[in-house]
Amino acid sequence: MERVSADAAPLLHVEQVTLRFGGVSALQDVTFDVMPNELFAIIGPNGAGKTSIFNCLNAVYRPQAGSIRFDGEEIIGKRPPATAALGIARTFQNLGLFVNLNVIDNLMLGRHHLMKTGFLAGALWLGRAKREEIANRERVEEIIELIELGPYRYQPVGMLPYGIQKRIELGRALAMDPKLLLLDEPVAGMNLEETEDMARYILQVRDEFELSMILVEHDMRLVMDIADRVMALDFGQPIATGKPEQVQADPRVIEAYLGQPDEAAASR
């Protein structure tokens, strides 16, 4: 019955990753695994390094030490487009949509790395490029159906409501046919109804797609509801990893969020 098998090889293995900007450590000895089909959540106060992990995973940042193995390949040292080709897709905290393009074009860009025809053939619109375009367009339509974006197909995404834009970004990431999906605060700034919609889509993706997800989110209720495992970060270091209820009850996690009892007393 278990979706996530405990004895499978991990899809992602992050070991002892350290990332420094000048003298400041953004990440310090971060180690974790993500299993196939697992929904893994990363929580932590602002500035704990959550988004930095994402930026390491898709090679925008290059850690000074450690190793990130994804599907048997080392990520560190690769360039960002290569990570997309390996099957890592992401959404952005503050939306990274192509605002003046329509929904279809945004999702088609998710298929970019899957399209094999070279630059020149693509430019000249040769037969093979055309067939490829049609096949990819069909996949995009499936995703549009799944996350209910049909009515917005040809609208420039910048003109659409925020909640819809977040959903389009999820759609674009899914269009990449990823093995690992990085969701950076998918419900940030959403009202309750939009949050519930997004949770429903994420669960649907978890159940219907063969992929792992890493969720960075401040909405604790959402994390506790849907994550298989949770890692809590504080000042760039993992302080607890495990089942949601274990992490939630961990004294170090509570301390990171609320401060130390005697500190609070001393400041009085």
Binding site: R79, P80, P81, G96, N100, D105, L109, T117
Partner: protein
């Protein structure tokens, strides 16, 4: 009326050249936010390369044009890859200064390599005129408009309807998100410079071949190319369509002024037409700094 129509023909031809040069500016600006002052240099260099192919190597006109386009595309892409890529993270201002440096290199290099070329470029169209009713149009101007339309049309098909064009448009909006989709932003930058180089050749070849008020094959073609600058200010720095419309408007305005002002308003002087593009640029900057079709945020740049 006859005079008006024939001036319109001349103006559109000059405008087509401006449009091509302006498109080069815009394509690079959109991808990299750099205003490439070396664009005028590519125009000159392209014209001389056509001359080189045609006269020195006897390749024939069209082969020479294609050869020159390939060369300037390669020069543009190489400049991006070898020089500008090292400047990533540096202020845009520094990069723009480098393009000015490249521009200043073109004149001495060109005069050293080619000295003073005896003839111009021998185009298939001569300096004959064609009569349409009472209107006399220069063959070279007709050829310029047609060829300009073909090149610009090809670009817009690429830009609108292909995967590469879509990747270019996406990169212009958000580079980080483009990278996350697996788009090689480096390739897009290099491609943008290559396109700018290729269209500059066509513009330079037309100017050297006698379109507009050109001095023939000469390094001072770069000064004419600089008038594409008012065209992009008018059309909007980041709008390829705006570049074309801006180019045509500036070309027609300049030629019309040259045709009417000396006779009608002698006080403005005979050379007033050369100033008109800049007058228009000045007015646009006052009223609508991001141009007719540009993105409003460009205002802040």
């Amino acid at each position: 009326m006859t005079k008006f129509l024939s001036l319109l023909g001349d103006g559109l031809a000059l405008g087509a050249v401006y449009a091509l040069v302006a498109l080069g500016f815009v394509v690079i600006y959109r991808a990299t936010r750099v205003i490439n002052f070396a664009q005028g240099g590519l125009v000159v260099f392209g014209a001389f390369l056509v001359y080189q192919g045609e006269h020195t190597w006897g390749l024939g006109f069209w082969v020479s044009v294609v050869f020159a386009m390939a060369c300037c595309a390669a020069i543009g892409a190489a400049f991006e890859a070898l020089v500008l890529r090292r400047m990533i993270g540096q202020p845009i201002f520094a990069i723009i200064l480098i393009t000015i440096g490249l521009f200043l290199l073109v004149e001495p290099v060109t005069t050293t390599v080619w000295h003073n070329p005896p003839g111009g470029i021998a185009t298939p169209w001569k300096l004959h005129t064609v009569k349409l009713g009472d209107v006399r149009l220069l063959q070279v101007n007709i050829a310029t408009v047609v060829l300009g339309a073909v090149v610009l049309g090809a670009f817009f098909l690429l830009f609108r309807y292909t995967r590469v064009g879509l990747a270019m448009r996406a990169t212009a909006v958000d580079q980080e998100a483009a990278l996350a989709q697996g788009i090689s932003v480096r390739q897009i930058f290099a491609l943008s410079w290559a396109i700018a180089g290729a269209v500059a050749v066509v513009g330079g070849m037309m100017l050297a071949g006698g379109a507009g008020p050109a001095p023939g094959l000469s390094v001072s073609l770069s000064l004419i190319a600089l008038r594409a600058f008012p065209a992009i200010i008018l059309g909007g720095l980041d709008s390829p369509g705006g570049a074309v419309i801006g180019g045509l408007v500036i070309g027609v305005a300049q030629v019309m002024t040259g045709g009417y002002v000396p006779a009608e308003v002698p006080a403005l002087g005979a050379q007033f037409a050369d100033v008109v593009p800049y007058v228009i640029m000045f007015l646009v900057l006052l009223v609508r700094p991001y141009g007719l079709f540009g993105t409003a945020e460009v205002e802040r740049v």
